[in-house]
């Protein structure tokens, strides 16, 4: 269980105003007095507008940055004081194409990070093998990352985030800029990690649907403070809105999924085909309906 109490983070910026004038000091309160918990096996969502402090919160919980005040314990251990020990138990996956060595192949990337976590030999190779299969990159495991598409890089990042088999995983917009199919697969994977592998997952996203689909509990941040929290049902009951009855045309997403489903019959054009099986897709599903 991750337990954060009254966490605050204030960045201190020193800005130069011209060559000879003194640097001025400005404080940016990014996160103010946040308390939250993250139990194992649960997915906790954090929503909020740009700049609300979501990423800062995640970086603090993952012990990448230290809180200005407040306490943070991970499985009972003081994570501010013992941040190195805690790092064995957590990992961060953020959206985008960074955080990987582009000149190295998928396998070399995973091996490097595995070594840093103290893993080696057979155990590490086995884990790399399993992770690459999990995210569907087995066929391109020896291709330099720079030749990957965005989706493939994102999937490799997920593998990297799982290399130390963390108990707690922090996801910062993990489906940023991905197509709907890959995003769907990744969501399925996240759900499985929580349900089957009992990982505590903390997710930030700008896609409300994603949060609704995945999260057991939600926090809403605004200017660094929690302005609402609860389960989906609790949040819904905040305002007594009557259920809406709507006639809905099939939305474009459904249509697009259908088109893609019909087109994809093992063509080698999409990067998914190049990257073999998509994550979270069972073989039957793939050969049967064809994805």
């Amino acid at each position: 269980m991750i337990q954060a109490e009254h966490l605050s983070k204030t960045y201190v910026l020193r800005e130069r105003n011209g060559l000879f004038r003194r640097k001025s000091r400005r404080e940016v309160p990014a996160v103010k007095d946040i308390s939250l918990t993250l139990p194992p096996g649960k997915i906790v969502g954090v929503l909020g507008v740009n700049g609300a402090g979501k990423t800062t919160t995640i970086r603090m919980l993952a012990s990448l940055i230290s809180p200005t005040s407040g306490s943070l314990t991970i499985d009972g251990m003081d994570a501010v004081k013992h941040h190195l020990q805690v790092k064995q138990q957590v990992n961060v996956i953020s959206g985008g194409e960074r955080n990987l060595y582009w000149r190295l192949t998928a396998r070399e990337n995973l091996r490097y990070f595995g070594n840093l976590y103290g893993l080696s030999g057979r155990a590490l190779e086995d884990r790399i093998h399993r992770l690459l299969a999990l995210v569907g990159l087995t066929e391109v495991q020896d291709t330099p990352v720079e030749r990957y598409s965005k989706g493939m890089k994102q999937r490799l990042q997920i593998a990297r985030g799982l290399i130390n088999d963390p108990r707690y995983l922090f996801l910062d917009e993990p489906t940023l800029g991905l197509d709907i199919l890959i995003a769907k697969d990744i969501r399925a994977l996240i759900l499985r990690l929580a349900r089957e592998r009992n990982k505590g997952i903390r997710l930030t996203t700008h896609y409300i649907q994603e949060a609704e689909e995945l999260c057991d509990f939600l926090y809403v941040l605004e200017k660094g403070t929690v302005i609402a929290q609860g389960t989906k049902e609790q949040l819904r009951s905040l305002f007594q809105r009557p259920p809406k009855l709507v006639m809905q045309e099939p939305d474009l997403e459904e249509i697009l999924m259908e088109i893609l489903r019909q087109r994809a019959g093992g063509t080698a054009e999409t990067d998914r085909a190049a990257g073999s099986a998509a994550p979270g897709v069972s073989p039957e599903e793939k050969t049967g309906g064809g994805l």
Partner: protein, 269 residues
């Protein structure tokens, strides 16, 4: 202990995979250093040798420059590599990912340094060794000195490289270190001018550069330059210098991590 070695190995392997194996590498790793070497050699050539610093003839000069440039290239490649890697790793976000792991930070620094050293200077070192053999500085009967002298150079450069690497994490503006070190290190540490022929102020400055002691010791080992200078004092000098560098590295590594955890600047670029 096993983990420390694992981390170092990971850094070395990564370094090797990371460097492009293009033909252009040959220019910066071999040709330019060789040209620099030749430039100095032919600059000195027309002048008569006064026997200063123990250099009597052009053979002595070649041996002197051979050791000087070899040491300097090793040390300088550490600076260059620390700077360029820290920039690239910041930009790629991988630096922060490495600091997300519990890996031993010192092992990371020293692994990077050793990796770069193995990767980048071997070609030029081969050239310098060739010079040393040609000038009969290294012969069959004193071949045992070769591993001693290479080991010494490797150790000193790695310790130096680890320190520079740690310093480079303080801020993204660490190119300052490059500008600050390039010319002074070349000039004052006796790469191409015997320290003994410096005026007093320059000799005092030369004491600040670990490379000075390293070169002194290597040249003494190989009997280049002034005979009769004290081996022991150079040895102590280098030892003290290395201890100080390791101390600085440990301290800076701690400070840097605290600083970066406060500011979250590790992935700024």
């Amino acid at each position: 202990m096993k983990n420390i070695w694992l981390v170092m190995k990971a850094e070395i392997v990564k370094q090797r995979r990371h460097d492009y194996h293009s033909y252009f590498v040959w220019f910066s790793l071999l040709l330019w250093p060789v040209l620099g070497f030749l430039e100095v050699y032919y600059t000195y050539q027309p002048f008569s040798f006064a026997g200063r610093g123990g250099i009597q003839d052009s053979q002595d000069l070649l041996a002197f420059l051979g050791t000087g440039y070899m040491g300097y290239t090793c040390f300088w490649s550490m600076v260059q590599n620390a700077w360029s890697m820290s920039w690239e790793e910041r930009q790629g976000g991988t630096l922060e990912m490495a600091f997300l792991t519990p890996a031993n930070r010192l092992a990371m620094h020293y692994g990077k340094a050793l990796g770069a050293l193995i990767q980048e200077v071997w070609m030029f070192c081969c050239f310098c060794l060739f010079i040393l053999f040609r000038t009969d500085t290294l012969r069959w009967d004193n071949l045992l000195l070769l591993p001693v002298f290479l080991g010494l150079l490797l150790l000193a450069s790695t310790v130096w490289g680890g320190m520079v690497g740690a310093l480079c994490l303080f801020s993204r503006d660490s190119s300052l270190i490059m500008d600050f070190l390039e010319t002074p290190m070349n000039l004052f540490s006796g790469t191409r001018i015997p320290v003994s022929s410096f005026p007093l102020w320059a000799r005092a400055l030369s004491l600040l550069f670990p490379l000075t002691y390293c070169l002194q010791l290597i040249r003494m080992l190989l009997h280049i330059g002034e005979p009769g200078s004290q081996m022991l004092s150079s040895f102590l000098g280098l030892g003290l210098c290395m201890a100080a560098m390791i101390g600085i590295t440990v301290w800076v590594t701690r400070r840097v991590e605290r600083h970066n955890r406060e500011t979250g600047e590790l992935n700024f670029f």
